[in-house]
């Protein structure tokens, strides 16, 4: 265990290098904010481009300056930098940049492109980065709140939309309860262990009493809420449906990486001494999410609600990886999260591009006849839907395979069979999108925006889904390197 006092005494500017992502992001958020305030009407349109540049710079700094060889602890043990953290931050940066890039036309068309939008997205990203590097209950909470508060505001960004306001209120109220539960659980944990440091909690959590179980239960409520697992999923469909589509895209992607990190840091590391503390609770959440998510998704007529229930079901899969309480399962969960984020970026990107300019209506019916109306877009959606359904040769298949393999490896045969059976249910509603696109004649004849730039990006996004599906060893090697064997 690294002694926090030792790191504190030798703190210099250079020793802050592992935290470069957060430092760079925070300072540049201020800079962009100032630019946006003083730029005036004429130059304000540059904010968006500037944001993308900032994200690129941060990504570059993360790799060149922030990379660490081994686990490094900073700020009196509040902050940890390791390979997993660096990579997750990089992935979050890219996911956020890509979702902002996909959203630009959508936002322009609805005149929502105030600079605040980009700045809130960046603060949410900062929250993700803090969370990813959290090594203390305090830092965890800081990250969770920074992320959540930014997202609440983003959901309500379209002030003329009643449904968005409703979604934001729901999200906010439920989110506040979850944060309360998190704080309550943390305070109990502090009372039992006398420390906020995850390093120290990790050393004592093996020898626990009954109080530990209650504390962990509260923490898991909050984790389940942030992840959107059943029965704490109520906000997911409303937010995906009510928020502006671009915000739904943002919420559906990068924060999933944060939720993954939350479990890795809090449960797997902090409370890893005795996984039995949380495995059973996560099992219940996973099974319920898999069943309810997949079954309710069938009944949806709105594509965003469908994707919301699909997200719930996929979270169930990610949780299955954790309940193995084994490195193979964490690895599988990581690859599943990455694959999910990559695929969802693409499918929401298509939804954004195909959304009609006259409103938020993105019924499944709007996809009818897309195969004839816009063959390229339909082909991309075809690949993305099949990947989410878990059909080879697309990468979604491998993500599911590793989860199942990890389950069998740890003798969870019943859960493995449940997982494959619900995938069959899930396949139905993904196939339905393909059916609407290709097998039905469309009603709407309005052409879809050309948007060459977005299309190229979407094309590469889908190509990555296919390429990783053909050569999945790249992904698997990466996840093995990041998680390693504890």
């Amino acid at each position: 265990m690294i002694n926090p006092a030792a790191t504190a005494s030798t703190m210099t500017l250079a020793s802050l290098a592992p935290a470069i992502t957060e430092i760079a992001l925070a300072t540049r958020i201020c800079a962009v904010l100032m630019f946006d305030v003083f730029a005036g009407r004429t130059w304000r349109y540059l904010t968006h481009g500037l944001t993308l540049v900032v994200l690129a710079v941060c990504a570059w700094l993360t790799v060149s300056v922030g990379a660490v060889e081994s686990r490094t602890v900073l700020f009196d043990g509040l902050y940890v930098a390791d390979k997993l953290g660096v990579f997750l931050k990089l992935a979050a940066l890219m996911a956020t940049a890509l979702s902002l890039f996909y959203s630009q036309t959508y936002l322009d068309r609805r005149r929502m492109h105030g600079g605040e939008y980009d700045i809130l997205a960046m603060t949410a990203l900062l929250g993700i980065c803090v969370l990813v590097s959290a090594n203390s209950l305090l830092t965890v909470y800081l990250g969770v709140e920074l992320l959540s508060l930014s997202l609440y505001a983003l959901v309500a960004f379209d002030r003329n939309s009643g449904i968005a306001a409703e979604a934001a209120i729901k999200y906010f109220v439920l989110g506040a309860i979850a944060s309360g539960a998190l704080l309550y659980g943390m305070s109990m944990l502090y009372g039992l262990t006398g420390t906020l440091s995850l390093d120290r909690i990790a050393t004592v959590s093996a020898a626990h009493g009954a109080g530990f179980v209650i504390a962990v239960a509260f923490i898991i409520v909050a984790v389940a809420f942030k992840f959107g697992a059943v029965p704490f999923h109520m906000w997911v469909p409303d937010v995906y449906h009510g928020a502006p589509a671009s915000v739904a895209l943002l919420i559906a992607t990068a924060p999933k990486l944060a939720s993954f990190a939350l479990i890795m840091r809090l449960l797997v590391y902090g409370l890893g001494g005795d996984p039995a503390l949380w495995v059973q609770m996560l099992t219940v959440l996973a099974v319920l999410s898999l069943l309810l998510g997949n079954i309710l998704a069938i009944a949806q007529t709105n594509i965003r609600r469908m994707l919301a229930y699909s997200a719930i079901a996929n979270v169930g899969f990610i949780l299955l990886g954790f309940i193995t309480a084994d490195a193979s399962g964490y690895r599988a969960a990581l690859s599943y999260t990455l694959v999910y984020v990559l695929t969802t970026l693409g499918s929401f990107g298509v939804v954004l591009l195909a959304a009609r300019s006259d409103g938020e209506a993105d019924d499944l019916d709007d996809f009818k006849g897309l195969g004839a109306r816009d063959p390229l877009l339909a082909l991309l959606m075809l690949g993305l839907m099949l990947s989410t359904a878990g059909v080879p040769p697309l990468v979604g298949f491998w993500a599911k395979l590793w989860i199942i393999q990890a389950l069998l490896h740890t003798h969870h045969l019943a859960l493995a069979i449940l997982a494959v059976l619900v995938s069959v249910i899930g396949a139905y509603y993904y196939l339905r999108v393909i059916w609407y696109m290709y097998f039905d004649a469309g009603r709407a004849q309005t052409p879809i925006a050309r948007e060459t730039g977005t299309r190229i990006a979407l094309g590469f996004n889908t190509l990555a889904v296919l390429a990783l599906g053909l050569l999945p060893n790249v992904l698997l090697a990466l996840c093995t390197r990041l998680i390693g064997t504890p």
């Binding site: 195969g371 099949l386 059909v391 080879p392 040769p393 298949f397 395979l401 199942i404 393999q405 069998l408 490896h409 045969l413 493995a416 069979i417 494959v420 059976l421 995938s423 069959v424 396949a427 139905y428 196939l431 393909i434 059916w435 290709y438 097998f439 039905d440 050569l471 999945p472 060893n473 698997l476 090697a477 093995t480």
Partner: protein, 509 residues
């Protein structure tokens, strides 16, 4: 190993059609003529590649040949591992052979998104060949599942009025069966540490493990064959699929179930197979007898041939599992290989005959746009050439000696006599039932006075249709009178398979 421009032969067979299909897609529907010719040339080239494959194949050994082995997913010990033996070679040739008539038959009949249609069939061809030559279980599963995508689109886009229902049913049924097989494969991998099929075959397993794995495999393969009672997707899929889809479905895709039984179930779980052979044989006999009666009652030509396919595939599944009974009864493995041989010949033969029959129905459907038997009558008066072919294929379907249909059924019935008289008795009812439903179909559609004015206006075969049906007729007759090349190709592999399944895999102690 034969090299072709850096690629080995089997890889070329798999990836040439897939690449060609993607290029056809790029050529696009606006240049349909170019796309058609291009696709045809690709499929012919693939077929030509089967010549060096057959010639280079060594009949004398049961080991895998034309092996290609590359690292694929190191972390999972899964390899890009291709090879053929006497079981897969005939099916690969059959796949390449049947794709060509499918493309020619669609030449003018498909005018909706023609380039995409041709592309889908080429991609499908490559994936199906991949299934047959994959020697790595994960690679096998990869092709096995990927194959569903083009077929799903083919039925869904170019199918009949209830195509959406039919194609979803097809996809979900098959998917459900396959995922359980995937669990079994992963289990075997965790046990053996590699995904190689040969490794799985050599892996000792307790009887309990074998039972569960056997059942998981059986679900996957029974859906694909299809066996009663999981056959209900097939009539729907066949009725709604476009002609080409029906042909490929009947000729190749159903064979994958049989291939799976021969490659996975029997050699990987021989003890469970011996223990549960009554289950497979029982289901097969139900398929032969009960489905035979169901076929009699059909009024839709495609549905009738679909049910006939299920009945005929019953011979494949039965033949594959007769060996245990024969050995138990006669005490020697001497005649036990007959059933396996019969299953294999029946697969190839059924591929040719059912494909040809679906093409014949397609010919009539193109003219009258009806599949109802009652809409026809007296076709021989207006289409004498066509009637000749139709009658030939119908006779082959009912097992007339001299056609390929006879050889397979005869071998299986012969083998079932050795196992159990009542098996043979029930299986032999097909000689009556099969003849009844097929010939009654012919009587109602082809013979008699001209049914109505629409039939009177039907034109006889054009050159393209003539070519397609002649080639298939030649193949049916060739296998019927001279099955030696086919039997020689598979014989050693079948004997090897028999040796494998008669040795218990239960670990001692």
């Amino acid at each position: 190993m034969l090299k072709l421009g850096g690629l080995s032969l089997l890889s070329t067979l798999v990836w040439l059609p897939i690449g060609g299909g993607l290029l056809t897609l790029l050529i696009g529907d606006s240049r349909a003529r170019v796309a058609r010719w291009f696709a045809l040339i690709v499929s012919l080239a693939t077929l030509l590649l089967c010549v060096p494959l057959y010639q280079g194949f060594d009949h004398a050994t049961a080991s895998f040949q034309f092996i290609e082995r590359l690292a694929w997913i190191r972390q999972l010990h899964a390899e890009y591992y291709l090879g053929v033996d006497g079981i897969s070679l005939p099916l690969i040739v059959l796949t390449a052979f049947m794709t060509v008539p499918v493309l020619i038959a669609a030449w003018s009949a498909v005018d909706k998104r023609p380039a995409q249609y041709f592309a889908a069939f080429l991609v499908l061809e490559g994936l199906m060949i991949g299934v047959f030559c994959a020697m790595d279980a994960l690679l096998f599963y990869f092709f096995w599942e990927a194959m569903l995508i083009p077929m799903f689109l083919i039925i869904g886009i170019w199918g009949g009025p209830r195509r959406v229902y039919a194609t979803l049913k097809f996809f979900l049924y098959t998917f459900l069966g396959s995922v359980l097989m995937l669990v079994a494969l992963i289990y075997l991998y965790l046990k053996s540490g590699e995904y190689s099929i040969a490794g799985f075959q050599a892996l000792p397993l307790t009887l309990i493990e074998q039972r569960w794995i056997f059942l998981a495999f059986l679900v996957a393969f029974a859906v694909k064959v299809p066996m009663w009672p999981v056959h209900t997707w097939l009539p729907d899929a066949h009725v709604e699929a476009p002609t080409g889809g029906s042909v490929i479905l009947a000729a190749i895709m159903l064979k994958m179930g049989g291939y799976g039984l021969l490659r996975f179930s029997l050699p990987m779980t021989p003890d469970a197979s011996r223990e549960l052979d009554w289950l497979v044989i029982g289901l097969s006999l139900i398929a032969v007898v009960y489905i035979g009666f169901v076929a009699l009652a059909q009024t839709d030509m495609k549905k009738l041939i679909a049910y006939s396919s299920i009945a005929h595939m019953g011979f494949v599944t039965m033949g594959a599992f007769l060996a245990f009974g024969i050995v138990a009864r006669t005490g020697s493995s001497g005649g036990a290989v007959t059933g396996l041989d019969g299953a294999m010949v029946q697969m190839v033969s059924h591929g040719l005959i059912s494909g040809a029959l679906f093409l014949c129905i397609g010919v009539m459907y193109d003219r009258l746009h009806s599949r109802e038997i009652s809409a026809y009558g007296g076709v021989i008066n207006v289409m004498p050439k066509f009637a000749g072919f139709m009658v030939l294929f119908a006779l082959a379907n009912s097992g007339l000696p001299g056609t390929s249909g006879f050889v397979g059924e005869f071998l299986v019935i012969l083998a079932s006599f050795k196992a159990n008289f009542w098996f043979a008795f029930l299986a032999a009812t097909t000689l009556i039932l099969g003849a009844a439903y097929t010939l009654w179909l012919v009587k109602r559609v082809i013979f008699g006075p001209v049914g109505n004015d629409k039939v009177a206006s039907m034109a006889d075969l054009n050159g393209r249709e003539m070519l397609v049906l002649s080639v298939l007729a030649a193949a049916v007759l060739l296998v019927g009178v001279w099955p030696a090349p086919l039997v020689q190709t598979m014989e050693v592999s079948m004997r090897h398979l028999l040796e494998q399944i008669l040795v218990s895999k239960i670990p001692v102690g």
